[in-house]
């Protein structure tokens, strides 16, 4: 019995060690990775990871050929050719010489190049996703706070309206909501894809945020309202200065989860022809057939967005905690 106990404590001791844990973690990850890699070999897929960077950011090389005979000179970034009659002919406003200055050139010679970086389609998609998420989150928080307040309002019709909205939105799939928003309301109110997409995501997330806000407000002790009201503050002042600041601080962690969900759910707007990250990925695949590489890259790019969001919120929470 006693030895058994000793062994157990020894096991617990070594299992709670960080170093050993990290080694085990690495082994599991390598193991799973190897398994996946080995399986992928069997399907004879040709991996072309080298193509992927171009779809994120690509360097574009622009060639400039001489359009006249003469002597090559450069002036700052600009490149000219001085013709035999002494007139200057512009080759490019911005380029690097390939030959030394003062060289004699003939028509058609490659004299200068300009290399510039251009955003690839995946990065453009990422920016669209970021833009959609940004606007949707702002509108969703606004809708969520108003609806959350309505959910606990003493006015019956407000409570009923808010509850109906929350129930309808939470009870139907986001994809269907996006279709309805775009094909029905989009037609009626003449909204474009982008506006419809943002509206759908904001309305969807707003319902969840409303529930979070409601729970946050109800978690603030009743005595806070009583103290504020007993000092003569009206309902709005009490909410604005006493209840909401405390409630919203408590709702930050679930709110962060909701924002992250929204970023991920924004991939659904690709169905109404918005070239977000997901749609950009599909387009790249149809041009390259590098299905696996592109989807892994797209997933990694979403992960960058969502983990940045978690990081921002956790910093904000720390900042709020310091105020106490």
């Amino acid at each position: 019995m006693e030895t058994g106990g000793k062994i157990r404590t020894a096991m617990q001791g070594s299992l709670s060690s960080r170093l050993l844990g990290n080694i085990l973690f690495a082994l599991v990850i390598i193991g799973v990775g190897t398994l996946i890699f080995a399986s992928s070999r069997r399907i004879e897929y040709v991996w072309r990871w080298e193509r992927v960077p171009d779809y994120i950011i690509s360097s574009v090389r622009e060639n400039f050929n001489a359009r006249a005979n003469g002597i090559l000179i450069s002036d700052g970034d600009a490149v000219y050719i001085i013709k035999s009659d002494g007139k200057k002919e512009l080759v490019s406003e911005k380029a690097k010489l390939l030959m030394s200055e003062g060289s004699q050139v003939l028509v058609g010679d490659l004299v200068a190049v300009n290399k510039s970086l251009r955003l690839g389609p995946l990065t453009k998609g990422l920016l669209i996703t970021l833009e959609i998420s940004f606007f949707s989150i702002i509108i969703a928080v606004f809708i969520g706070i108003i609806t959350g307040l309505m959910r606990i309002s003493p006015v019956y019709v407000f409570r009923k309206l808010a509850l109906t909205y929350v129930e309808i939105v939470r009870g139907t799939p986001l994809l269907v909501q996006i279709f309805i928003l775009y094909f029905f309301f989009g037609k009626i109110f003449n909204m474009g894809q982008f506006a419809s997409g943002v509206a759908a995501l904001a309305i969807f997330t707003g319902a969840y945020i409303a529930e979070i806000v409601r729970a946050g407000i109800q978690s603030v002790h009743k005595g806070q309202t009583e103290a504020a009201r007993s000092l003569g503050l009206n309902y709005i002042q009490t909410m604005q200065h006493i209840i909401l600041p405390q409630a919203l601080r408590r709702t930050l962690p679930p709110m962060a989860g909701q924002f992250i969900s929204l970023i991920k759910d924004s991939s659904l707007v690709s169905v109404i022809a918005i070239t977000d990250l997901t749609k950009a990925g599909r387009e790249v695949i149809s041009a390259t057939f590098s299905t696996f590489e592109v989807w892994f890259t797209v997933a990694a790019m979403y992960l960058i967005l969502t983990s940045s969001m978690s990081y921002l919120i956790s910093r904000f929470e720390l900042h709020m905690a310091k105020a106490d």
């Binding site: 007993s230 503050l233 002042q237 200065h241 106490d324």
Partner: protein, 245 residues
Amino acid sequence: METPIIFADNIHKRFISGVHALRGASLSVSQGEVVVIIGPSGSGKSTLLRMFNMLETPDSGTLIIDEMNLTTPHFNPNKLRSEVGMVFQQFNLFPHKNTMDNVTLAIRLVRKMSKGQAEDTAKILLEKVGLGDKLAAYPSHLSGGQQQRVAIARALAMKPKIMLFDEPTSALDPEMIGEVLDVMRNLAADGMTMVVVTHEMGFAREAADRIVFMDEGIIIEENAPREFFNNPAHERLKQFLNQLL
């Protein structure tokens, strides 16, 4: 006899839960009077006190405070509340605001006082309750006694005509009760009209002008402290006092 500043007559209150908290309670308080309400728990004393600030509304009866008839339909409670200060058992300081902001918040929002003026008022009051050195402290960094003194200063900042205390020392550690009662005694000596629900018989005996005994939703007996303790008339009060001693 001058008109009382608080006039409550035949107040009834039944909560949604079915508890019949007040069954015809009547109480008058004159300007400058200190009235202490005592009674067993569940006797309705807190409910009655909370009526005076409209944190509860009566089902029936007459309630007139500072010449405002609270039982008028659609009576706006904010006017009343800015004239009546309330101190709670659980202090209810605003945890996200420091001492200074706790005290200045209402006078700035309700009395529309400027920041500077409000802070001057707050400093004087916090000095008075012995917390002049805690202006920047947050409630979580103050002891219970200190928090309750901030709560008193917060209520006083509104320059109320009446101060209500709902078991102000019940949530305090014994060694902190004294500092809060001292502040209340000073307030009583300054002539503030006070209604105090408490279990502190020492305070009742020396600071009260009148003690009121409540049981089962009505006021059974009221008298000046000496008579109240030495010559209780009702059997129920005798029992209650015996249990305390």
